[in-house]
Amino acid sequence: MILDWVWDNFGLLEYLLCIELVVLLAAAFFYQVAKLIARTHRQDPLVKFYRVFWQSFFSSVTSIRDLDLMQMEQMARARGVAMVGDMDTNQLSRLDAPDLGSLDGLDEIAKPASPPSDMDETPPPTAVKPIGRTGPEDEDRVRPKKGGESRELKYARLQREKREAETEAAENRAEASDRIAVTRDSSEDRNRTDLPHAEIKRAAVSRLNVRIVPMKEKDRIVGYQDGEIVIDVVYAPEAGQANGVVIDLISSQIDVRPYQIALIGGHYKVRKTFQVSGLDQPTLDARIAAI
């Protein structure tokens, strides 16, 4: 009776819908089985499969954040803006330590424009706008507003005063440490955090180039070839989903914590650039050489 009604009224689409519902029912049944297995074997592949299946089924397929990042990167490329992943080592180093240069001329820029007294005055040289974040010297940011000091100029002035105060304090500390250096053990110096070498250690960063080979059998580090680490990952090259796995692999290989590794270039590419904080470049190179 029911089968006759189904045969008379169902078309291809209804049959497909029935198949999908049967698949979902089977997945729900095996999810219950997997929960029983998980009591003794939490990392069983069946448990992992059905847990990830329902997580993926009820979550958005591609997160909005990834879509936004991809769209922003594509739009920026369409406008001809260089991305971090395209930069060479020199450009990346400029991103890390922006050369603020002398801020002495900022007050002059902040003054209201006066009519030129001399027509033969040479025009100021045209500055080449550097790539990426350049700090307060960026002319768009320090353009004075009408009616006084802009917020950016005030920030630059405060920063300059702060740096001058820090320089004075450092000089005072250096003089004081020179005076008492003869009575202090050198091991105590290494534990102090207000000495220059301690800050150098905290600020140690290094770079690591990685090439990803997606859709492999397992996640593993293949080796070091042509100045970059080659890593196999199981994931397909989409939406940057292998980045977390790569960071875990690298951190275990070079013996640092995962949070010390930051992806700074190639978020959606197979060639990625990581920044490792807490390790200087020679140390990192030595650890990579052991791979």
Partner: protein, 70 residues
Amino acid sequence: MFDDFQKILQAIRELPDPERVAAANTAFVTWCVANVVRYLVTGVVVWALGRRVLQAVFAAWREAKRTGST
């Protein structure tokens, strides 16, 4: 559906009474709209559900393979 469509059209043409023809035409148009909407809705549901199921299966397969291999 296409066979039913032809049969109904033929039956309407053979109707002798114009008043019954008008009523049959109204019923025919309603039947057509209902069927089109039904196919559209079913198609969208099948497409969305199937896509979600397939992507979930692939993601779960990748994750299970990755976990099982490490």
